[in-house]
Amino acid sequence: MPRILSRRSIGAALLGALPLAAFAQAAPAPTGTLTVAFASESTAIDPIKISAGVDHYFVGQLFEMLVRPNAQLEQENWLAESWTLEQSADGKPVIDVRLRQGVKFHNGDPMTAEDIEFSWQRQRDPKKSFFSHNVASVERIEIIDPHHLKIHFKEPDASFVAGGLQIWVMPKKYIEQVGEEEFARKPVGTGPWKFVSRSVKEELRLEAFEDYWHPTKRPGVKELVIKIIPEDLTRVSAFKTGRVDWIDNVPPAMVEEFKKMPGVKTQTVVSGNNLFINFNTHMPKSPFNDVRVRQAAAHAIDVDAIIKRVLFGEGERYAQVGKGSAGYDPELKPYAYDQKRARELLKEAGYPNGFDIPCYNLTTPREPNVKEVGEAMFAYLSSVGIRCQVRNLEYGAWISLGKRGRSGPPEMDGVLSWMWSQGLPGDPGTPWVGHLHSFQPGTGLGTYSYTNDPEADALVMEQRRTMDPAARAEILKKLARLKQERAIGGIPTYRPLVTFAWRDKLDYTPWPVRDYWRVFQEVGWKQQ
């Protein structure tokens, strides 16, 4: 008996039922050029070559997925008009997908089920793709008709559903015609923007796609020029002098100034990143093997003060799961800042005079002021007796330290400033497989985990197999409570916020793509 996931599909099914032409006439032809400045640059614009978060910034303007988060961070059926979760005769999961009609690629070819099957094939090849594991659970894609397909699974895979059906839609006919290299040079997708030209390290030029399928969420700007300006002050200068009309990552210290600037609009959104501090609990003599010591650390840090003073407010406190994410529980509150309690807990655990411990800090600005935040947290820990010997690491060294299963030193033998990010608003299911489940060499489980809790392991595996989003959210909630009580999988600190600024002649709403913002889905000039 198939189960219908109506919660996700009803809204979009209604939208799909409305005649597109009725909207299409309402949308005025796009005009003018908008120049924007990003802080960092994508490398490849081929969706299967994404190797860093920033790669989504370009890919997301040109390519689309079957399901995606919208501006309100709710999953919305996108190139899929609807989808339902079913079961095959042998009990394996099947996702039945109805594709939206009338979707075209930038070269004019219509999007059909064959493109989806091709995109999956292209993405599953580990020699070409960095994301083959995202679709590894799919056994085959069965094409029923040009707008109807069934995705057959080898085994249940919740992350496939949580990740918006995981497939970037690419044009089969075009890629087969022009070849891989030409596709990388002149990418063609179904997105709101068409590729025009690119000069690496300087700019990407795009043009509004006139045949874009969505009746309302489409550019009202004819040409989009994305400049790359990594230095904060230079980017701000470019905005102030009018060379660009929209900027990414307003530096936290300047957000207040931007908010007061006449003729300028800003919006602050939550990033998909979840920061926490992790503890060595895999070595037999580690003080953090005692739950009281971990709880003491959680009570020791005044995260709110750090957000206010070090991040200038550009951070959101969270307890295990961020607001709006699967498994979010409003009842769950972060550990209160209470240094007296922290000292008591340390005393109970047998450390009345505290102890010395190495504390590893990330210095590469993967998030604004992340180094300073680490320093502040370690200072708080030291003030209750968890005396940090701070060791600074740049990104590569940091990630290599955090990873389990290396054959030799260095070993993470203390406290580590760490983070996970997955989707917006931040689905914890897949990250917890790597960051909470106990480390099992050679399986991909617990690659970055310093926790060994059989109960948590069982729940992580259960949520991983549960493809029904509502049922899975309940398991995640249970897991979050367990995580909180036992202070396992690290102590959550904050989720960074990011502020965009633009001139108010623009009518603009930020849209995300997978884990990242910065897609120009809804942008146009204000009516004079």
Partner: protein, 303 residues
């Protein structure tokens, strides 16, 4: 010293640089863990490692790298998925343009300042020059760059704050980069000029009634310039290095930004191609300087 021996030394230096960069970049961490997301399973990691050739012993990787590098092939960038050498060569002209402009700026300031300070030794100008020199050495180029942006781009709006669109885009980054060596070059010109001014041929020239302007700028400066030229080769290399920082500040599309980002993402082919090309430029500019002595001072040519 003959040219062939010089060339041999240069080749050894470049080979040495290749070993150092190859070994150091591989000591610093695993690129695959940065390329793939944290939830990638071990078989995907292994497939990528094999695909990139990182599963082979380092010595084998090095010999393979060296063999291909001799033909100008540095492999494909792990992240950009295009030949690393193309990435570097595409951006190298912008870096060289910036470095030369910065060097010209520094020399254009250093020579008149140095000569003037030498001629008016102990004067207020000379003392000011010393303070100026100290300031130049004390201000890091990224800071100078930010001040220039604030003043000339934001306040006065005379020049663009970023990019590489016209000659005006070059002015601020060239000043930011050329600022640092001005001080040292001024001191070099000043002391060389002081030495030369006390030499017999200058006194002789004066006695023979050669006009002071001709004596200073034609006869004295030519000899006083030798130490400056010696050091210009080194400064050109320093400019290439300094450009790495200044390029980021001014969003200048040069090789520096590419290499710095490649270092952070452990994109070995790009780091190797970038460092090898800059080493070649470094060695070549030093070689050119050595050879140019002969043109300026015939004694060296014949010696």
């Amino acid at each position: 010293m003959n040219i062939s021996r010089r060339l041999l030394h240069s080749l050894i230096s470049i080979l040495g640089a290749s070993v150092i960069i190859f070994v150091i970049s591989r000591l610093s961490g695993d690129p695959v863990s940065l390329l793939l997301p944290s939830d990638a399973p071990p078989d995907a990691i292994e497939a990528t490692r094999q695909h990139l050739g990182l599963d082979k012993p380092v010595l084998v990787q090095y010999l393979y790298f060296l063999g291909r590098a001799l033909t100008g092939d540095f492999g494909d960038s792990y992240r950009w998925q295009v030949p690393a050498i193309d990435l570097i060569l595409e951006r190298l002209p912008a870096t060289i343009e910036l470095s030369i402009a910065a060097l010209l700026f520094s020399v254009a300031i250093a020579i008149p300042f140095g000569v003037f300070s030498a001629l008016h030794r102990g004067s207020w100008f000379d003392r000011f020059g010393k303070v100026f020199a100290m300031l130049g050495q004390a201000m890091p180029n990224f800071w100078v760059g930010l001040l220039l942006i604030l003043f000339f781009a934001v306040q006065l709006q005379w020049l663009p704050a970023f990019g590489r669109e016209s000659w005006s885009s070059l002015v601020l980054p060239a000043i930011a980069l050329g600022w640092y060596p001005v001080a040292a070059q001024t001191r070099i010109v000043r002391s060389a000029m002081l030495d030369v001014l006390e030499s017999d041929y200058v006194r002789m020239g004066r006695a023979m009634g050669v006009p002071e302007r001709v004596l200073i700028w034609k006869y004295a400066l030519r000899n006083a310039a030798i130490p400056l030229i010696t050091i210009l080769g080194v400064y050109f290399a320093a400019m290439l290095g300094g450009a790495f920082v200044v390029e980021v500040i001014f969003a200048w599309p040069g090789v520096g930004r590419t290499v710095v980002e490649a270092v952070f993402s452990r994109d070995f082919p790009v780091v190797q191609a970038g460092v090898m090309l800059t080493s070649v430029l470094f060695v070549a500019s030093n070689l050119l300087v050595d050879l140019s002595y002969g043109l300026i001072d015939p004694r060296i040519r014949h010696g």
